[in-house]
Every structure is written in C-alpha cells, then in structure tokens.
C-alpha cells in the first residue's frame, strides 16, 4: 500500500507533521511518499525516520522539491508518565 502526502508549500515543522499524521494509523510496511520543498526536510525527514523508527528508502531530487520514500515500521512507544 502506498500513500502520497503532498507537503509542498509548507515549512518546518509541517512536512514532518504531515508525514507523522499519514504514518499514524497505517500498518507496518506501508510506503509513504512525502513531497516537500522545504530544504529543512532533507535533515529532518531522515532524523524523524531514525527516531520513529521508520525506513527512509529513497530521497529523490525532483525539479524544485524532494520526494521521500518512507516505509513505516512497528513503533515502540515508551510509557509516558504525566507530570
């Protein structure tokens, strides 16, 4: 299954928020293609994939924007204690 998320025209932190939103309710192994033209995405999409974790399979330099191909994985979220 492939989902396409177009975050062009938005700037940090919105491209990563759009990516996380798309990844929130899909099964592991889902392919998400994120389109973004904010250069900060080149740093933050790989970092988000490392933190999540998810796999950044490909970063394609299109004409004036980038296409990030991300594959979601099972996420392990630590229990959060409320303050």
């Amino acid at each position: 299954m492939t989902i396409c998320v177009d975050a062009r025209g938005t700037r940090c932190p919105y491209p990563v928020i759009a990516l996380a939103r798309a990844a929130a309710d899909v099964p592991a192994g889902t392919v998400i293609e994120l389109l973004a033209d904010d250069p900060v995405s080149l740093t933050d999409v790989p970092a988000w994939c490392r933190m999540r974790p998810a796999e950044l399979r490909q970063t394609v330099d299109e004409d004036g924007y980038w296409r990030f191909v991300v594959v979601t994985a099972v996420t392990v979220v630590a229990e959060v204690t409320e303050p």
């Binding site: 700037r11 940090c12 932190p13 990563v16 928020i17 996380a20 939103r21 929130a24 900060v40 740093t43 933050d44 790989p46 970092a47 988000w48 490392r50 933190m51 979220v77 630590a78 959060v80 204690t81 409320e82 303050p83």
Partner: protein, 357 residues
C-alpha cells in the same frame, strides 16, 4: 517575575561588578595603546596587565586580544600556516570560525577542508586520516550547541606534525584544556566578560600588532579569574542539574531527542529537539514565563537556516531548544524550567493539533 537566562553557552550576562570594572576601564583605557603619551601608555598597561593575568590563568606564555572571533582565527592561522599544506575546521565549529578559517587559508594560498564528524560531533578517524598533513586544524574543544567534547588530537598532531588551534570559549572553566595545543582561542563573552575581547593564547612569546578593544580586553582577565574561582563548584552543580533536567524531559515528553548531559560531555549544555512543535512558539512561551533559551531550528533563526551543528550530526532540527546553564543557579530553578518546558510542549502541541501524534 524573575528572569533566568539559560542560553549561556556562548555568552553570559555581564554582572554589575564586571560592568563597574568596564566603566572604569573605558575611562582609563580610551586612548590608542600605541600612542607615545601618558594616556596611551595607560591604555597599553591595562591591556598588558589583563593579558598577563589571563595567560597565567590559562597556562599560556602569551595572550593577545582581538576584537572578535574572526580576527582571532585569522591571527592564529596566519601565525601557524607557514609549514602547513592546508587549514582545516570541523563541520560543527561555529560558522564564523569556519568562515574565518577559509579566509585565512586563502590568504596563505592554502586549501581549506571542513572535516566530517560522527553522530556525536567528534571529528572522524577517516576524516583525520584523509586530511593532507601537516595541517593547521582549528576546532572547538566543547561544542557550544550539543556539549560534545572533541576527541584528543595530541597523538594525531604529534604523528603528522600538525598544529591544533582550540576554540575553547564554550569549554573554558567547564572542561580541562588538553595538552599539546598551538593556540587557544577564548571569547570573554563565555564567562561574562564584555563583548569585544577574544584572547589568542600562545605557548611561546610572539611580537604582534595591537588590535584590541582595550576596555573590553582590560576586564576580560578579571572576569575570567572570578569565573574560574567559582568553576569547580559550578561544574558539579551543572552536571547534577543537567542530568536531572534530561531525565525529567525524557520522562515527561514523548518524541524528543536530547544531546548533552552524558559524563563525557561539557557539564552545562543540553540540546533538546521536540517532534511536532514549532520551536519559535516554545521559545516565545518560555520567554514569557521568564526563561531565555536558544534554538537551532530554522523557524526560530533570523536567517531561516537550521543549526549546521544538528544537521552535521544527523540530529532533528525541528522544535529545538538549547540550554547553556550559567553558574550558581539554584537546583529548583532548573527543575522549574523542566516543569515549564513539559507544560509548554503540551500547550503548543494542543494548539497545533499534534498531541495525538
């Protein structure tokens, strides 16, 4: 409301005492220190006294003051480059340092290399091995954003005949100087000196042209001595406070990445990146609660660029805050800041509709 400046890694507020010394130095040291009359000699004497006192504090043979870090880098590199085949900096040095190294290398007809760093921000073995030598390597001792202490370069320098210039501004008093340096650069802003005095410390005496901002340079050493006498206890309290803050944030905020606060890091620096928030909103809300903190995020920067340090180490640059503790902050202030940050993240996420992510 009390205000707490927690952005002290690069520059610290000037105390009333230092401000009084500075006012005095401005009246005594206004003249051109090279002028051959009484007022000029008085300015020259202020400069020399401060340089000698700082040299003793650092363990250098000579100190020379420059008005800014760019001039200090230019002075150090031009004195050392004659036997070198290139000048190098690392990808996590201050931008002005990298830029000034490039200019100083070009002025000597040498290539300039920016060395890769690992995920911690230390120069990689491969980058060092690939660097043509002998080189002049300019690097920070403790990183001003993420608190990483640079690897020991002594053996490399000795084996390759290279010379090391340490920008120890953020480290001064917090981290011990390693041996084997050729120059140490120290920006007095880092210890609450007045902006406009960057010391170039040498292990050998040299003749140099006078370029200093005399009043700022004149108070730099006294401010440094004051700081160094407080530093041993400040190291211990900052390490305790940063460790508790790190633990508090990691426990209270989902989706954060924290750098700094490990035993091998500078004791007073912490970098926190929070997912799904606008860094500028965090910074503004904390400011209105009385806490001044820095940010390495693009949205909070004047030039719209994310931190080159975070980018170089592969860190998340969004939602970033930088903490550089001042000395002598009570534990409950840092603890209160931790509580405020957890609350502010929740507020901003609720406002942005990202609480569920």
């Amino acid at each position: 409301m009390s205000r707490f400046v927690l952005d002290c890694a690069v520059s610290r507020p000037v105390s009333d005492r230092v401000a009084r010394w500075y006012a005095h130095a401005a009246q005594q040291g206004w003249a051109d220190p090279t002028a051959g009359y009484h007022e000029g000699k008085q300015a020259s004497m202020l400069l020399e006294q401060s340089a000698a006192a700082l040299a003793e504090a650092v363990g250098a043979r000579q100190v020379h003051f420059c008005p800014d870090i760019g001039a200090a880098v230019a002075a150090a590199v031009s004195e050392l480059r004659s036997g070198a085949v290139c000048v190098a900096t690392t990808a996590v040095d201050a931008l002005r340092v990298i830029e000034a190294c490039g200019e100083a290398a070009a002025a000597g007809g040498l290539p300039h290399h920016v060395l890769d760093v690992d995920a911690d921000g230390r120069v990689t073995e491969t980058a060092l091995n690939d660097l043509p030598t002998p080189a002049v390597l300019v690097t920070n001792l403790a990183n001003q954003e993420i608190g990483t202490v640079q690897r020991d370069l002594t053996a490399w320098a000795r084996a390759t005949g290279s010379l090391v210039v340490l920008d120890a501004s953020a480290a001064f008093g917090w981290v011990d100087l390693p041996p084997g340096w050729s120059r140490v650069l120290l920006d007095a802003r880092a210890w609450g000196g007045v902006p406009g005095a960057v010391a170039v410390c040498s292990p050998i005496p040299l003749r140099r042209a006078v370029t200093a901002n005399v009043p700022a340079a004149a108070v730099a050493a006294a401010a440094a001595q004051q700081w160094l006498s407080a530093a041993p206890s400040a190291r211990r309290s900052a390490r305790r406070q940063i460790a508790a803050l790190r633990e508090r944030l990691e426990r209270g905020i989902r989706g954060i990445e924290v750098r700094g606060g490990r035993p091998e890091d500078a004791p007073h620096i912490l970098s926190v990146s929070v997912l799904y928030v606008d860094a500028e909103a965090l910074q503004t809300r904390l400011d209105s609660r009385g806490y001044a903190v820095g940010s390495g995020s693009a949205c909070a920067s004047r030039h719209g660029q994310p931190s080159h340090v975070l980018a170089a180490v592969g860190g998340f640059t969004g939602g970033n805050l930088r903490v550089g503790l001042p000395p002598d902050l009570p534990d409950d202030v840092v603890a209160g800041f931790g509580v405020a940050l957890v609350e502010v993240v929740a507020e901003v996420r609720a406002q942005m509709g990202t609480s569920d992510l």
